[in-house]
Amino acid sequence: MMMQDKHKIPITILICDDDEDDRMLTQQALEDAHISNELRFVDDGEQLLDYLYQRGEYAGETGAAPRPGLILLDLNMPKLDGREALQRIKGDATLVDIPIVILTTSGLDADVIRSYRLGVNSFITKPVTFSGLVEAMNVLGKYWLEIVELPPTPTLV
C-alpha cells in the first residue's frame, strides 16, 4: 500500500467524474495497477466541493469524507465543471496543497494551458485503451504515491 508520509498513513484518492462507466474503468485500472489506497468517488464539481468542505451530504463526522491526498479530476461535467472546481480549490488556502491530476478525454491545448494556469499538478488525457489506462495509473501511482513527497495532512480546521 502506498503511504503518504513517515507515519505510514495511506492517503485517500478522490475521483471526480460524472460518468459511471469511467468511474468503473478508473477503479479497475487502479486495481490492476495494484494501487490499493482507499478510493472515494464524487459525480461533479459541486459534489467535489461539498466533499472537501464537508458540507451537504458530507456534513458531520469526518469519516464520511476523509481529506484526500490526491484528486483525479475530470473536466467536462454537469453543474460545476472541472475547470471551475479546479479554480475554486486552487484559490482556497485550506485546499491548495492537495495535488490535483486532471484525467479527461479532452486533449485540447486550451484546456491543458488553462488547467496549468489554474495551478493543476498534472494533466493526463485518458488513454483510449484499457491497457493504456492501466499503464497510466501505474505510472501515476508510482509517481504520486512513491516518488514525490506529499504535504502531511493538516490538522482539520
Binding site: D21, D22, L25, Q28, T105, K126, V128, T129, F130, S131
Partner: protein, 387 residues
C-alpha cells in the same frame, strides 16, 4: 417661377453661345448620368438628356421648378433635403451619398449623389451641381453577395463546429467499447475460444478503425480553426524533423528519403509538419514491393511570390483519372487488407494547403511513382487566421 433666364438643354440654345461654353454644354448633355444645375433656391436651371430619360420627365415640367416640387414631388425626399440644405452648405461638397427612395414613375431606386456648391465670384449667385447615378443594380448585387458571404461563413462555421463536436463526442462511447471489450477479452479469456474470440477480435478491430476515422475527422475539422499564428517557417527544418520522426518506418521499409533545398515561408508551423508527415508517410506506404522506396523532397519552382515543393516517389502510383479523387475525405483507392488507413491523409493535406492560400496536385500513372506538387505563397499578408 423665377424670372431669371432659364436654359433648356443644349438643343435649340446654340445660337450666340461661345464655342467653349457650347463644348461644355455638349459634354454635359452627352454624359450618361443624370446631371442637374440648381440655383441657390434649388430651382433647376439646367439638366441633361439622361435626367429626362432616367426619371421619365419632360423639360417643360422640370426647368425652372424647385427640385423638391418636380414631378408630383417625387424628389421631395427628407434625407435629400437635409443633405442639400444643411450638409452641402456646410461642406460645399458631397461625395458618393446613397439615397434609397421609391420614385412613383420608376419604382424603388438607389441613387448615388455627388454635389458641389459653386460660387464664381463674390457677387455671383451660388450654383449647385448635382450628379445622380442609378446604382440600384450594383447595390442590390452587393447586398446579395454580402448576404451570401455571410451565409457561407455561417454555414462553414456551423459545419466545422458540427464536425468537431460530433467527432469529439463520438470518441467517448467508442473509448468505452474498446475499454470494456478489452476487459471482456481478458476476463473471459478461458471461456472465449474459436469463433467467439474471433468475433470479439473483429469487433475490437472495427472499433479501433473507427477511432482512427474519428480522430482524423477531428484533425480535419480543426485545421480551419487553428489559432497558431502564421510565422516565418523553414520548411527544410520541418521536413528533416518529419524524416527523423519517421526513422523507424523508413528503416523498416528499406527506404531512402532525400530532402533538397526547401524555402522559408510564412506558415502555420504545426500544420506544415502535419503536411510533410502525411505526404512522406503516404509515399512510404504506397511503395512498390519489388524495389526499395526512394522519396525526393525538393523545390521545383519560385514564381510570383509562391514556392512549389514536390514530393516524388517511385511507388505504386495511381491512374491519372483518380488524381482528384485521392484528395477527397475518406477516399481510398486500395483495399484495406492491402493498405491500412482512413483515407483522410491527403484530404487533410489539401485543407492545410488551401488554408494557406495554396494548391496541391498529384501526377502519376499506375506503377510509375507519384509526384505531389504543393504550391504555397511566401507571405500570408492579410491572411492572418484566415479560414
Amino acid at each position: 417661377m423665377s424670372d431669371e433666364k432659364v436654359s433648356g438643354t443644349s438643343s435649340g440654345a446654340a445660337a450666340g453661345i461661345p464655342p467653349a461654353e457650347r463644348l461644355l454644354l455638349d459634354i454635359f448633355d452627352t454624359v450618361r448620368e443624370p446631371l442637374l444645375v440648381l440655383d441657390a433656391e434649388f430651382r433647376v436651371t439646367r439638366t441633361n438628356r439622361a435626367f429626362f430619360q432616367t426619371f421619365r420627365v419632360t423639360p417643360e415640367g422640370t426647368i425652372g421648378k424647385v427640385l423638391f416640387d418636380l414631378g408630383d414631388r417625387q424628389w421631395d425626399i427628407p434625407p435629400l433635403r437635409a443633405l442639400l440644405r444643411d450638409r452641402l452648405v456646410a461642406e460645399r461638397e458631397l461625395y458618393d451619398v446613397d439615397v434609397d427612395h421609391v420614385f412613383p414613375a420608376i419604382g424603388r431606386k438607389i441613387m448615388l449623389l455627388n454635389a458641389r456648391l459653386v460660387t464664381h465670384g463674390p457677387d455671383e449667385p451660388r450654383v449647385i451641381l448635382l450628379a445622380i447615378e442609378d446604382v440600384t443594380e450594383r447595390r442590390l448585387t452587393e447586398r446579395r453577395l454580402a448576404a451570401q458571404r455571410f451565409e457561407l461563413e455561417r454555414s462553414n462555421t456551423a459545419l466545422n463546429e458540427f464536425a468537431f463536436v460530433a467527432s469529439h463526442d463520438l470518441q467517448e462511447p467508442l473509448r468505452k467499447i474498446l475499454s470494456f471489450g478489452e476487459r471482456l477479452g481478458t476476463s473471459a479469456s478461458p471461456l472465449l475460444e474459436g469463433n467467439p474470440r474471433h468475433y470479439l477480435e473483429r469487433m475490437l478491430d472495427a472499433a479501433a478503425r473507427m477511432r482512427t476515422l474519428i480522430s482524423d475527422l477531428l484533425a480535419y475539422s480543426q485545421i480551419a480553426t487553428s489559432e497558431t499564428p502564421f510565422v516565418t517557417t523553414d520548411l527544410a527544418v520541418i521536413a528533416h524533423a518529419v524524416v527523423a520522426d519517421l526513422e523507424t518506418t523508413i528503416a523498416d521499409a528499406g527506404a531512402r528519403v532525400d530532402v533538397g533545398e526547401l524555402p522559408v515561408i510564412e506558415a502555420d508551423a504545426p500544420q506544415m509538419r502535419q503536411l510533410f508527415q502525411n505526404l512522406l508517410a503516404n509515399a512510404l506506404k504506397f511503395r512498390r514491393h519489388d524495389a526499395p522506396a526512394v522519396v525526393h523532397v525538393a523545390t521545383s519552382s519560385q514564381l510570383n511570390g509562391t514556392r512549389t515543393i514536390t514530393v516524388t516517389d517511385n511507388g505504386i502510383g495511381f491512374k491519372q483519372e483518380h488524381r482528384e479523387k485521392i484528395f477527397r475525405m475518406f477516399e481510398r483507392l486500395n483495399s484495406r487488407a492491402q493498405y491500412e488507413g482512413s483515407g483522410m491523409g491527403l484530404a487533410i493535406c489539401r485543407k492545410i494547403v488551401e488554408r494557406h492560400g495554396g494548391t496541391i496536385a498529384a501526377t502519376s500513372s499506375a506503377g510509375q511513382g507519384t509526384t505531389f506538387s504543393v504550391m504555397l505563397p511566401v507571405t500570408q499578408a492579410g491572411r492572418e487566421y484566415a479560414p
